[in-house]
């Protein structure tokens, strides 16, 4: 039986804490739990909790969103995508179509879905039409996408794939020499699929404390207690504070589907640039499902460049944990969930959106 949140907080308060310690999380779900439960405010002031690269919608390359918009507008296709993607803005003038939502209003057949099985079902129900599944997500989401493809999808289903792996972004931060954090809370549902071992490089190569956490306050606080103790006692190891779901080897059947459907290669992250070995791509046996092979490019290719966050938007820094959301110059001013400027204010997993939804209205208090 796991100790209560209160017990974990008391244990944390009793620790001989250093003057300052920064713990990064890399999962939008963690950030939502932390914000909703008010964990930041309950912890001793020496502990900083930094939201890091935990939102696949936020880092989905601008050129991919642009490509999806124009594919849907210019070809006779049904474009399906997870609901979070609909409002993500691209950097074009206000007179042009700036999001999939606007493309839909302009007449494109764009349908939000909640599961890859829906993409296959829509293709099955519309055999005379081409259906393009624009899929962004991290490992947890890409495994179901892979499963759907491996199970045998209808031939009129095509893929515009923007799947990413989480750990290479953390590796990039650590390799930069200025990671901006002293300990890591690893994402529970990514580890459910991939297994916790994926994160051992944080400990073994970089000597930082790390713990896999679930999404309850108890599990998150247990993980924080673990990394704090590791830090103080100078005894680093990869802890698993979500053992009830994260098995030692993850979910091998899910990983097998990922391997069957996708290769892993270098990939662009919006506003950040190319991160080695961080992107999923269709395996050759699925090449005929590639939307670019089937329909050609629709302008996305020409837009490839790093740093393509909207003007004035600090999402790239927010995603990398370099600043807090409310340190962005336009947080709550030009940018709110009603009028999102950057992707971090659109997605439920975006740090800006999470902070705003949890009532943080003042700018730059950190």
């Amino acid at each position: 039986m796991m100790a209560s949140a209160k017990t974990w907080l008391e244990r944390i308060r009793k620790l001989p804490l250093p003057e300052k310690i920064r713990i990064m999380n890399v999962c939008g779900g963690h950030e939502r739990s932390i914000s909703a439960a008010g964990i930041r405010g309950a912890l001793p002031p020496q502990i900083e909790l930094i939201p890091g690269p935990g939102c696949p919608v936020c880092i989905c390359p601008e050129e991919d969103v642009y490509e999806a918009i124009h594919l849907a507008l210019e070809e006779d296709v049904i474009l399906v995508t997870f609901g979070d993607m609909l409002r993500v803005p691209v950097n074009v003038s206000r007179r042009d179509v700036r999001s999939l939502e606007q493309a839909r209003a302009a007449g494109a057949d764009i349908r939000p879905i909640a599961s890859p099985t829906e993409a296959a079902a829509i293709a099955r129900d519309n055999p005379e039409r081409a259906v393009v599944f624009f899929a962004a997500g991290f490992e947890t989401t890409m495994a179901p996408v892979a499963a759907m493809l491996c199970e045998g999808a209808p031939e009129n289903l095509f893929m515009l794939l923007s799947g990413r792996l989480t750990w290479p972004a953390v590796a990039m931060l650590l390799d930069s020499g200025e990671p901006g954090f002293d300990a890591l809370i690893a994402p529970g549902h990514v580890a459910t699929v991939m297994g916790p071992e994926e994160w051992s490089f944080v400990v073994e190569q970089h000597g930082l404390p790390a713990a896999v956490a679930g999404f309850t306050s108890e599990s998150l606080l247990a993980a924080m207690y673990s990394v704090l103790r590791q830090y103080i006692e100078d005894r680093r190891f990869l802890d698993n504070c979500y053992p009830e779901v994260v098995r030692e080897d993850g979910n091998p059947a899910a990983r097998a589907r990922l391997e069957q459907a996708f290769d892993v290669g270098d990939a662009n992250w919006r506003g950040i640039g190319t991160i080695p070995g961080s992107g999923f791509a269709l395996k050759p046996w699925l090449a005929q499902r590639d939307s670019v092979t089937a329909f050609g490019h629709h302008g996305g290719e020409e837009r490839k460049r790093a740093g393509q966050m909207p003007k004035g938007c600090d999402c790239a820094k927010v995603v990398l944990g370099k600043i807090y959301p409310n340190q962005c110059r336009i947080y709550g001013l030009a940018c709110t969930p009603r009028t999102p400027v950057g992707p971090c204010m659109v997605s439920d997993e975006g740090a800006c959106r999470i902070w705003w939804s949890n009532g943080i209205r003042n700018r730059d208090v950190a």
Binding site: S35, C55, F82, E151, A253
Partner: protein
């Protein structure tokens, strides 16, 4: 987007299961749990319509409390 919610299995038909959480029923794919046995009454963590792991009844309950709390905080 990586959140998974616990659901209880009502019925299994090959790789498909009818599952329930808080009175809402959904079709869930068991394709990624094919090397485990999954039976009615058991609980699974579901992400985008796919079961990604089995959980105990007790752990399922504690994550539901979490979701209620999270949604309430964000509505406020």
């Amino acid at each position: 987007m990586c959140l998974a919610i616990p659901m209880q299995i009502l019925e299994v038909d090959g790789f498909n299961a009818r599952c329930e959480a808080k009175g809402v029923e959904r079709e869930v794919s068991l394709f990624m749990l094919q090397d485990q046995t999954v039976e009615p009454g058991e609980f699974v963590m579901v992400h985008v319509g796919y079961a990604i792991q089995k959980v105990s009844a007790e752990d399922a309950r504690s994550s539901w409390e979490l979701f209620d709390q999270m949604l309430a905080a964000e509505d406020a």
